[in-house]
């Protein structure tokens, strides 16, 4: 390449690389069309012999491919063709963009090749296949990688060829930036965007696992079932003495729901017996078509609000204590990190041991020694004690973490403020209220947001401690998806959880006026 061709001229070399790139682009689009056309689900949509059982073609495409991936492949193909024309015209920007794109393509091919090879090995055995099949599966990606690597070399040379017009620095920087973002964006496309899309699409269908059939569109049926509530006032059951009968746990026993509600599928999530709203012998029954779900929302909200507020108080207390200068602060910080670092599953099991329902349980023994309780309590199986126990464990695990976040906030408050306050003779309490709290507000807000969003998706703790006897929204979603294999219904649950958490996030930003930029 010692000759210096004039810039606007198409040279055989650049035409070759351009043609190869164009072919890749066209090939991507053709591959997409071919994949859709040969998909079993899509074909069954056009299978006349199925008659009225034929699935809808739109549903078949949405179920098999979604929207994001086809649009992505289509966009990639079109951009590749456009860049190919630019390469052939010896446009420097297009050549460099093409070089960067093909670099990532080659790396992607290499990753897929390695993944295919590793997939057949015994320790990651998705399909424990004989050697030949493994190598065969890796052959396609390997060839593609080689082609991409070859093309990359050609493009890199073309981009360095003498006589090219130099690009403005700003453009070069922007191209580099986007190129560096490619792997992260690609990963997030695959692990976040595509699953999110699948969840949303599936939530409108009756999809179940272990079935290859194209699911039916059911509209908002799942959402209607999840969100339908009915409130009825019910009187209590009368005992022999004419007063309200009580169950052996001490709660009032209420009359069952009216028959027509039961027939429609309503079950009571819980009874409201509030002094101001209802007479003492009446309660409002909160009924739902899926009462376990409605109850799980309530459990999640109670868990979140009580544990986060307790954590904030305790965390603030710990942070203020640790903030002052003393020997062993480093060790103290390590101690505070330990509950956070222990896997939640493990700490749930540690607490399971401490909360044992006999005198072997250290909490029971301790409380009995001080005389707070007379007999051992079964903290984890008594319904009224389950949620408080879970909250207690969560507070233990995360208050030190909360304290750590608040400590960072405390450390940026200028010391001079306290000095001048002391000169003015302000009391410690006064200092706290008028200096520490206002200046700590941003740190508190951020810590609150993080912890709240975290607490709303509580899963590990409840799953390990209670199995299926106490559900949060997350454990309920898990049960519907993994145990019942109802993909459609579980997806609708997921979407609702997303909105629940999103609602909290928005409310926080509004209420606390967090400005994080």
């Amino acid at each position: 390449m010692t000759t210096t061709p004039s810039p606007a001229q198409v040279t055989p070399r650049s035409a070759l690389w351009g043609a190869l790139l164009g072919a890749i682009g066209v090939g991507a689009i053709a591959g997409l069309v071919l994949a859709v056309a040969t998909d079993a689900g899509v074909r069954s949509a056009f299978d006349a012999s199925l008659g009225d059982d034929r699935p809808s073609a739109i549903m078949a495409v949405l179920d098999g491919f979604g929207i994001i991936l086809p649009v992505f492949v289509l966009g990639f193909g079109l951009i590749a063709v456009r860049l190919a024309l630019g390469v052939a015209r010896r446009d420097v920007g297009a050549t460099r963009s093409a070089r960067d794109a093909v670099t990532w393509l080659a790396l992607l091919g290499a990753v897929v090749t390695v993944a295919r090879l590793v997939q057949g090995t015994p320790w990651i055995a998705a399909t424990p296949s004989p050697l030949l099949a493994v190598v065969g599966g890796a052959l396609g990606p390997a060839v593609a990688t080689a082609v991409a690597a070859l093309l990359r070399r050609g493009l890199a040379r073309a981009a360095r060829a003498p006589g090219l017009r130099e690009e403005p620095l700003v453009k070069r920087e922007a191209r580099t930036a986007w190129s560096l973002l490619v792997p992260a964006l690609l990963i997030l496309l695959l692990v976040a965007a595509r699953p999110l899309e699948t969840t949303i699409i599936t939530s409108f269908t009756d999809k179940v696992f272990a079935s290859d059939e194209v699911p039916n569109f059911v509209g908002v049926a799942h959402y209607r079932r999840l969100l339908t509530l009915s409130f009825v006032e019910v009187p209590c059951r009368l005992g022999d003495d004419g007063a309200c009968a009580r169950s052996n746990r001490g709660g009032i026993r209420w009359q069952p729901l009216p028959r027509e509600l039961l027939v429609e599928g309503y079950r009571t999530a819980w009874h409201w017996n509030l002094p101001l709203l209802t007479a003492p012998d009446r309660a409002i029954a909160v009924n739902a078509l899926d009462h376990i779900w409605i109850r799980s929302i309530w459990v999640t909200l109670v868990f979140t609000i009580s544990s986060v507020s307790l954590e904030l108080l305790l965390g603030l207390f710990i942070a203020l204590t640790v903030h002052s200068e003393f020997r062993g602060r480093g060790a103290m910080r390590a101690v505070m990190l330990i509950p956070w670092a222990i896997p939640t599953v493990v700490s749930a099991r540690l607490w399971e041991l401490m909360l044992k329902d006999t005198t072997a349980g250290v909490l029971n023994r301790g409380l009995m020694l001080v005389g707070a309780i007379e007999t051992p309590q079964s903290w984890l199986t008594t319904p009224a004690l389950q949620l408080p126990s879970a909250i207690m464990i969560d507070v233990w695990k995360t208050s030190p973490f909360m304290a750590l976040l608040l400590l960072a906030g405390l450390q940026v408050i200028p010391k001079e403020l306290y000095e001048s306050a002391r000169v003015d003779g302000a009391s410690r309490f006064r200092e706290f209220v008028s200096i520490t709290l206002p200046l700590l507000r941003p740190a508190i807000a951020v810590a609150l947001i993080f912890r709240t969003l975290d607490a709303l998706r509580v899963f590990d703790l409840l799953n390990v401690l209670f199995g299926r006897s106490l559900h949060s929204v997350s454990t309920y979603n898990y049960q519907v998806l993994i145990n019942n294999q109802q993909a459609g219904y579980a997806s609708a649950v997921g979407v609702l959880i997303f909105f629940l958490i999103f609602g909290f996030a928005v409310a926080y930003v509004r209420l606390l006026g967090v400005n994080r930029s």
Partner: protein, 282 residues
């Protein structure tokens, strides 16, 4: 004031009592489990006592001989190590772009990354489950390696961006003038400077992946040989409360936790800094 050392100490006594209380509060379950892991069967069912009556190491011997538990340790190392490396690689490239380069669309990208760090994974559990099945990696360690960037990548990107931003700009300007390429700048100048940040971020993503339970459990229900440590721990004797091998469970818990405790003790300052950079700064 200066001469009365013991008097000053005495005045600080309530303070040290509070500190001691916090330490006890944070460590009690851990110490209790440690003691239980050395207890014999008889000791377990008697009234609770802190020190084992006749300490035994048989629980540890049992756990270390348990093939299922040992394979879960290996799986966890593969999954947590692999996903941390992946997150560090993709994350540091993205963070370099977001923290040091100027381009249109940077601010929306930053917000997108921040939003992703708070994304509720549970809400796309069913989509992830379907995707993992489509890719034919369901029930393997690859499923976790595939899915964990969902939370490790946004986190590492966010933390590393704030580190990259803190470096003085003159460093690369000099290199650009000398005609260095982006790859050279990144590999020879910036990466060495960010090694501490990479170590911190790697540690945090490692701990978070090591502790992850929801996805690991969902993806390995049908294949116990791919289970990670938390799943194995949760199922060590099933969730049903009868005849549980408690002492063995606690021995397993100690084996799983000790590496983390050591990491925390050694790197406490960095971990704390990284955690607060991930949430407070920005």
């Amino acid at each position: 004031m200066s001469g009365s050392g013991w008097k000053a100490s005495l005045r600080r006594l309530p303070f040290y009592l509070v500190v001691a209380l916090i330490v006890v509060y944070a460590l009690t379950p851990f110490i209790w489990a440690l003691s239980t892991s050395f207890k014999t069967e008889d000791d377990l069912f008697g009234a609770a006592r802190l020190f084992p009556r006749d300490p035994t190491t048989k629980n540890y011997v049992y756990v270390l001989g348990d093939a299922g538990f040992m394979s879960s340790l290996v799986n966890s190392v593969i999954v947590a190590g692999g996903s941390s490396l992946l997150a560090l690689t993709a994350g540091s490239l993205a963070a370099y772009a977001l923290g040091r380069l100027r381009f249109r669309g940077k601010t929306p990208m930053l917000y997108a990354v921040l939003a992703m760090t708070m994304f509720p994974q549970i809400s796309i559990l069913s989509g992830l489950y379907l995707t993992v099945r489509e890719l034919n990696i369901y029930g393997t360690q690859a499923a976790m390696l595939f899915a964990y960037p969902l939370f490790t990548l946004p986190f590492s990107t966010w933390v590393l961006t704030s580190f990259f931003r803190g470096l003085p700009r003159e460093i690369e300007e000099a290199a650009i003038v000398d005609g260095a390429t982006t790859a050279q700048i990144l590999a020879r100048i910036l990466l060495p400077l960010t090694v501490p940040a990479l170590v911190t971020t790697g540690l945090l993503t490692f701990i978070v992946s090591w502790n992850e339970y929801l996805l690991a459990r969902s993806f390995t229900v049908t294949n116990p040989s791919a289970q990670t440590v938390p799943v194995a721990m949760a199922q060590f004797a099933g969730i049903v409360e009868q005849q549980e091998p408690i002492a063995e469970i606690m021995a397993a818990a100690m084996i799983v936790t000790l590496p983390l405790v050591v990491l925390v003790l050694v790197f406490q300052q960095r971990i704390a800094a990284g955690l607060t950079a991930g949430s407070v700064k920005g």
